[in-house]
Symmetry: D2
Subunit: 388 residues, 4 copies
């Protein structure tokens, strides 16, 4: 709220007036109280960029008309930004991230990081060469009860994991909204801007990432049936995926943007041979926990029997609901914590996978495998496990 | 409760002391108030059969030691049974049903009707030749809110159906219970008594049947991944199935008996291009209904905006919960209604598919297709649509 | 379902065609499988009485035109009824019960037992003099999870009880339904047939009884505000009552028949200094249980950690919902159990208070105290504790 | 996040390290993005005050050791604060608010505004004399679905209101936590710091205020039973209140801090003669809405059929949960909006009652009436309606 406290100077590309996710990132940063937004290229349209800068309190001279200029000038300033947040449509993530990394500026990027696994691999290599961080905002991993879920898997409360069911369903694309010119719908259904996957790339990867984050497991192969229900739509708006894991576990991933009645129904269920978990983003402060011979428990954020790992990311006491923005801010708080250390000093701990770009690579491999499987009539397809 | 009212004389095979489902059938018949249990062969063990007969009020001379004798003598009696209820382990359904039909006695059989599609086809042909009914107790179809769901699909409230998600999960076989000698677990996990499918045959077919009953749609092909988690178990205890329908709709069927925390979690969601439904057996008196642009409604049994088709099968007014036994009794009431007509006179109406054996044939074809698909690495496999 | 098994010969007064609660009693008896309905006086209108008898399978000669004749003749028959079920409007309960008791026939009566505490006291004295039972069907006490709740209070899981909150709300009388001639509404809003209380007598006493049944505690004084919202209605359709208990505990009882959106919202919460319970009739198979330092548990009927007292009254295994009729049948099963013993031999055990008429006396005292308090501007009013 | 945008210079009294509510106010202000925290007196302990100032980014010279000095110096500075946030224990609200108002600084105060109605009346008069605002943070009024509820009452969707049931229950004081030295518990149970009411003043007034905010109605008289369960505790930890309204409506207010299992269970139900509402703070993004003849609807924040009044205070699209902090920030955004106008120019509109101090006066009158009633054995007691 003021500048006397040391905050990280940060810039933003994308996210101007009328954008949804750019505003979310800004609120999340403010909640974390660790950033100062100093520069931006809010839009590819110079007038909108300037208007947004003024509205959002970025000085005119640091409201840049293009990201290349921004990166160059900011890198040269004594008081230049240390990190940049990228919140453009998907297809621009790669060139922008590449540009800022090359100028030695840390990158915080909305998911999916790039359009292909190869691009992601290239960015990861670049970030390591430059000793600069490359963070991807898998925001659902910031929910305290997701941290609780993860902790319970880690410490063995569920035993050996047998089944993972994850779903992310919405209904806002149940009609051909993109044909009405609605901006969010237009780019998300356009292969040139969104990439090779529609629903799967937009929300399915969040589900995939969350299942991995909590379980610590990545499927070794998948069998996918992607489908597009709305006439005229090129990319998938519904995806059904079977998954198999190295230890024999089975899984399903459902992702739909035509599921009437669903808002942001992200739900994760994990069943082990001793216990099971159930969490749903629409009521994120609760986590249902079952065991073989006990009554199902409704665990509540920051309350009885909640682990330190979960408490650490709670902002307020139990009983008062936290939401989406709070979870988002957790990531920003953790980014700030890592940025305060020398590069490489961050030991992989509880929240590590949220903050490296490896899950982003895994995501892209998942998307590519799903498309390959679906194209070949749902044949089981292996997931690449390692960077090339 | 007494005999002055005209009731249908009925017999039972299986379901003696200690059996679960036999008792359920008897209570359901009593609720319907249309049957009088006159004869039985409660067990293959003559002593247990006799003891059960005495306990359950069947005269000693009509408590038979074997079903063949029972069928022969009852068929010959002036006051012999008109119908028999078969509640034995699965492998005995076929010979018993065949025997009673051949003696001209109507058959009411627990699901699955037989061990193979071929057997079911044979029984159907026999029943038609004999002008005798062959009913299968798909009990979940008797819930009033399932009738409401069906009615709403029928009258177009959901529009064109796009997605069907159905799940039936339990956890009682999460450990090797069958190795402890528990009777219910033993026969259900033994291929000789249960058939080629475990979990899928025991509960998965209920899910399959319910999705069909409500949607009126049968998938044209499926891709299945069956798995057995518990060491030493031969039959599947977890099944994940992708489904495709003729109109392009997609579906998933999940069925598990190792899903810790699940009791009898039978849930059906159907999404159309205009509306969507969500129903769960654990709270059967509610039905969630969503439309493209309205708030989700919680419909309640026998209350506002509930169709006549649903009201017809409600026993008591709104607000007082009905349960599993009431739903079961609905089938028995409907069987009695049909049995009161000349054979063939029953016009296929609202509840028709619950009462012909065709869904049972479809079930067996589904099981066989799932096993075939799973054996061939989840390849898409066509479902037989018609009797041979 | 048939007569070879020994069943209790029973009669019914009231409950003919179109009646709600009579049918409920009959189904409950059939589920229990312990009764044979042999005689009845279904209606004060002889034609309706005869038609009902025929429809319900009561022989014409035992379908009586008036209850006095019925009592006299049945008492004289060798095979006469041993017990009678009274399901008439409230104002007739007393003379009918009195008549049958005097003829030496056990009485099972719907609640409220009579119109005044004095009448109830008289019936209780009469029943004891005659060595005949006088049962009142507080049906909600038959729910297995209510038995679980009671057991947990008894064994001290909640510690010292501090707070009791009980509510029974409906909305079916939110408009002047009685003015449309609807029969159920008409007698319930008519002081001559319903008694001095409307909503409070119809459903509030169920709440009062349930709180007592589970907690084992009766308030020593109450302060009530009764109100009638619907113009032209004489009796209360909304009641708010504060309660104080001997141990210092506080309580509230809310009862309304104008609470739009409520069907049969009977909910009981009990808070002790160690634990707390929450149960709602609309989802009767679950019971929420909390402790001072643990996560809230969702206990499920017949499942893990459920007491024997609760299991004893479960009809079917966990996961399959039981409902209102099953709970009702539990009472009939227990009545039959008691009727099988010599009078007085029944030791007061787990379900005792459900089966003596003492709670009925307590109910009437509660109603009378509420009316007295409400009339005197909500003054604290003592409850009579003992029979005169 | 930075200073180029025009923000309101604000100060804070109380809320230093370890305080709960001070941090909440700061986060809420950051979310609103309209304030810059420039000065503070974080603690009465000068060392803690200084340490807090440093930690929270307030310049050392504006981290004051006492509030009088702060008010005097800030009032004199060219760049002094325009408003102050008071987040101390209750008994200090009055002198601090008085001091700042006298120096011409707007006041934003946590509830309850003062210890007595007389003090509140005095502050209100002072604020009007000084042309300075006096805001009280009834934070629950900021929830978008509370705004929706209010809008629906206003536009007549519920018809004439008949019943208001409001409850705020917690369990954190179920044991004698104050005897352990826990700071939050200590001052809240101490009459000198908390005032004459315990639970009622701490959370009961939130319930009272919320019921008023949504319904637009204030009871004309109340009858209260306050009680203290925990041995040694002087102030009430449990309150049960009956309410009567001018139009004949009835209400209940329950407030408890010993209700085991309750976290922050603030629930409001309003029943009219046409419709009814049900909202619970633990799932604040939903609002249940019922009508006389329709199915209950689950309204969802920012989604279908949500009014503009509610959308105006939503931060993010539907489906992503907002929580307590977002609701809090809504108030700060509205305070900023009003502070941007000339004093007196703010027309009483949709959210008006949240922002004047009149509800705070009403609250104090309610507390005083409850104590008076409870002392006189729950006698009906009138609420003062107007400022003296």
């Amino acid at each position: 709220m003021n500048n006397t406290k040391q905050r990280i100077r940060i810039g933003m590309v994308g996210g101007g007036q009328g954008a949804f996710i750019g505003n979310v990132h800004r609120i999340a940063m403010r909640i974390s109280d660790r950033y100062s937004l100093e520069a931006a290229c809010f839009s590819s349209d110079p007038q909108r960029a300037a208007a947004s800068a003024q509205e959002l309190g970025v000085p005119a001279e640091r409201g840049y008309p293009d990201y290349q200029t921004m990166a160059r000038i900011e890198a040269a300033r004594q008081d230049g930004i240390r990190a940049v947040v990228i919140v453009t449509p998907n297809h621009l993530h790669f060139p922008i991230a590449k540009c800022f990394l090359e100028y030695g500026i840390h990158v915080i990027c909305d998911k999916p990081l790039t359009m292909t696994g190869a691009e992601t691999a290239e960015l990861i290599a670049l970030s390591q060469r430059m000793d600069k961080h490359l963070f991807v905002t898998y925001n659902y991993t910031g929910y305290p009860m997701i941290r609780e879920a993860r902790e319970r898997v880690r410490r063995g409360d569920l035993g050996e994991i047998r089944i993972i069911q994850v779903e992310y369903s919405q209904d806002w694309l149940a009609t051909a909204l993109e044909q009405s010119g609605q901006k969010q719908a237009s780019w998300r259904t356009d292969p040139k801007q969104a990439g090779a996957a529609g629903c799967l790339g937009d929300i399915g990867v969040h589900a995939f990432n969350l299942a991995h984050f909590v379980s610590g497991m990545t499927p070794t192969k998948i069998a996918a049936d992607l489908h597009s229900f709305v006439p005229g739509r090129v990319l998938d708006d519904h995806a059904q995926v079977l998954m198999r894991y190295a230890n024999g576990a089975r899984g399903t991933l459902l992702s739909s943007q035509v599921a009437v009645g669903k808002e942001n129904h992200l739900r994760l269920q994990i069943f082990g041979d001793k216990g099971a978990l159930d969490w749903c983003q629409e009521h994120p402060n609760q986590l249902s926990f079952s065991t073989l011979d006990g009554a199902t428990q409704i665990l509540s954020r920051a309350r009885h029997q909640i682990s330190q790992a979960s408490r650490d990311v709670s902002l307020i006491p139990a009983g008062h609901p936290e939401g989406y923005l709070e979870a988002f801010s957790v990531l920003y708080k953790e980014f700030a914590h890592i940025l305060a250390m020398p590069f490489g000093a961050y030991a992989e701990g509880n929240s590590a996978t949220a903050h490296s770009a490896m899950p982003a690579y895994s995501d892209l491999c998942f998307i590519e495998a799903c498309i390959a499987s679906s194209t070949k009539d749902t044949v089981w397809t292996e997931l690449k496990a390692n960077l090339p």
